[in-house]
């Protein structure tokens, strides 16, 4: 069982393969139920199209190691970018992505924000803090696009949610 948990923890996110599912924070549980290993994952966003691939990768990696695995979904608690581990954040930076800051925590009605989202983003390539948001949306639901004003390189920032 310890081995099954270790195998599941090393399966990688199909869209950000520098992160394991454990580092991304979507791997919620691995446990034995009878002869089956049940792995529980949670979606990052409601429409996350990578869920099916994660499930299949988990089932096949575990099958390769001789386990009969099934994947279940946990919708609650909802995933937060705060769940990305420190190792995951370092892996993002090592691959030229900016890691998310603390996710907003709110109670009560959510205020409307008519100004661009303000973040202190550091360029993952040169370390400059002079960075500009170019698009709040990127190639996947979880990323915004930035540009460094010093080294001029564009880079992706994983959003706080």
């Amino acid at each position: 069982m310890v081995r099954a948990a270790a195998i599941a923890a090393e399966v990688r996110d199909p869209e950000m393969p520098m992160l394991t599912l454990a580092d991304l924070g979507v791997l919620r549980d691995v446990r034995q139920r009878g002869r089956t290993v049940v792995v529980t994952i949670t979606p990052t966003y409601s429409g996350c199209p990578a869920m099916a691939t994660m499930r299949d990768d988990l089932v096949h990696r575990l099958a390769d190691a001789g386990y009969d695995a099934r994947v279940e979904v946990a919708l609650t608690p909802a995933w937060s970018s705060d769940w990305i581990t420190e190792r995951g954040r370092q892996a993002l930076r090592d691959h030229g992505l900016s890691a998310p800051g603390p996710a907003p925590s709110r109670t009560g009605p959510i205020p409307l924000s008519l100004l661009p989202t303000a973040r202190a983003v550091t360029c993952p390539r040169c370390g400059s803090v002079r960075t500009d948001l170019t698009s709040e949306y990127g190639a996947t639901a979880c990323k915004a696009l930035y540009r460094c004003a010093d080294c001029l390189e564009p880079f992706e920032h994983v959003k706080e949610i």
């Binding site: 966003y45 409601s46 429409g47 279940e72 979904v73 609650t76 959510i110 409307l112 949306y137």
Partner: protein, 309 residues
Amino acid sequence: MTDHSNAYDGLLEHHDVAGDSSQWAFGTDFEDPLAGVDTTVPDDVDPAALATYCLMLGDDALVMSHRLGEWCSRAPDLEEDIALANTALDLLGQARLLLARAAAADPSVVPVLPEGSPVPAEDALAFFRGPGDFRNVRLVEVPNGDFAHTVARLLLFATVRLALLTRLAGSRDPVLSAIAVKGVKELTYHRDYAGRWFLTLAKGTEESRRRLLAALEDVWPLHPEMLATHPVEAAVAALGVGVDPAEVRDEVDAVLEQVLTASDVERPERGALAGVRGRTGRHGLHTEALSRLLAEMQVVAREHPLGQW
């Protein structure tokens, strides 16, 4: 020389598939999005009412998602193309969960497909119901119009839906509550996106302001329907499972006022679009735009009810 009837035989000959199956892509089969989630309906709740309520919220998201998806490759620039597609994807995800929740609560709402069909329940609901069975508000089904129309509609839609889902997070149905908590995070930036573009277009050029004001006049009469209480909504709200839209009117009003004031735009005076003998989108009464939308959205699935994708 080896003769193969198809290319895959050749591949299989040289690779031990069983030994390393992970080299193959398996990501295309169906899977229950609520696998492992306890979908037991609370004891005192009528499963049919809960299912209908889920269809209302799910159909709003599904149809809005489809309209936003129509912008793909046609938006004013690449950033907006991606933004609208991202928003569409979030809403499609919400729709999938809500339709799956409807099917789990009351399987009798799911259209019956031919024996052997691999189509999962939420897809059967999306692709095999006619317009009269859709419970979405008419706001989401009318054609996109120009970018200003899409911004104005998305502002009204996301403002009401965010207010609804914020309260729905406290639902006694744990599945609806979980879907709502996730949806709130997403609708927060959908509403911000629409609000920012509303302000930009209103304060932009004479032409952008002209288009925005025309768009607002057009879509404004459609939004009160999202705030009107259908008997099913009243019933599930009374049990603490759903939300009575009338409860969020003041909150919606305050947010819209904030955007209108910042944009220096007068609140439109046009009243709500009338229903037909009291029936509106929530009752399955739609504009002909929905029939056209569904014809396009559903045609492939309906042609191949036994299809494997």
